[in-house]
Symmetry: C2
Subunit: 155 residues, 2 copies
DNA sequence: TATTGTTATACTCTATAACTATA
DNA sequence: TATAGTTATAGAGTATAACAATA
């Protein structure tokens, strides 16, 4: 039986995940940490509360991620002149350079993937992706959830 | 600036992940556990070593997942008549039923997503997805890795 | 001697709750 | 009184290494 569209999208997710795992092997970097660095690259120095919202995570969790990134020299916690309770998490110069390189690699990978699609098909293909993404956004934004009635009848 | 193809594929990954997270909230289920149950549904009772290969994980990790699933009644460890070192991890009847329901929900979600694409575009869209998936498979199968030169010059 | 799955140990991500310092 | 970020505590996933039982 042919895999469904969803199966294929999940296979793509899984391969992308595997690729980043392999890229980070042997380093102290992880996906959540790099996600945080990515946000910092684009938003500039930010209080942890803002990062928590950006990552869809809790303030406590951001503390842990920033601890790890600070210990390995990717970020610094600087005082926030506007609010002495808060802190401004700031990329170090080396981390900035690294994230810009990763951004270039990311763009290159995107190009490689798009080039696999027949040039004549690319417009339609991108429209399709956009449509699926928009639909998925609707579904997730609604109260609905895909898997119901799990754990027997108790949910 | 418009998001690239890769950005959109990653957004889809992230939303799919969010959807399952929400589905499993309040239960003892997690993505790795359900992945294991899914493999069992399709492969039948299996030794842990086989599950480790199927999940791309370590035997030790499978022990932990099976422990959790056994404690919550989703699987049993049964003796393997062919090899007394090994064990046959087996779905309980309730878990079987649940996984079949999840399979139906999964198929329904796939349908919903495909329906978001213009009927005239679906053929080309699926071809495009297949092409991207195939390319990504090549890239991940090769020794290449997307993000190079991370952690300064040390990698 | 090799393999299956375990115990031992460790690290990361994540969450909730209680607390401190500041607003 | 409310907010920012911490300490305290806990659970889940993952990994390596050493070990027991079996092949």
């Amino acid at each position: 039986m042919r895999p469904t569209i969803l199966d294929r999208l999940l296979a793509i997710s899984s391969l992308l995940h595997e690729d980043t795992q392999r890229s980070f092997a042997g380093t102290t970097l992880t996906e959540p940490r790099v996600h945080l660095l990515w946000v910092l690259l684009h938003s500039g120095p930010s209080p942890q509360r803002v990062l928590a919202e950006a990552l869809g995570s809790t303030p406590r969790n951001i503390s842990a991620l920033v601890d790890g990134l600070e210990a390995t020299g990717y970020v610094r916690r600087e005082p926030n002149p506007d609010d002495r309770r808060a802190v401004l998490v700031t990329l170090t110069d080396e981390a900035s350079r690294m994230m810009r390189r990763m951004g270039e690699d990311h763009a290159r990978l995107s190009e490689l993937l798009l080039q696999a699609v027949d040039p004549q098909d690319r417009g339609v293909f991108e429209r399709g992706i956009d449509a699926v993404l928009a639909r998925l956004n609707e579904l997730v934004s609604s109260e609905e959830v895909t898997y119901r009635d799990i754990e027997g009848e108790e949910k």
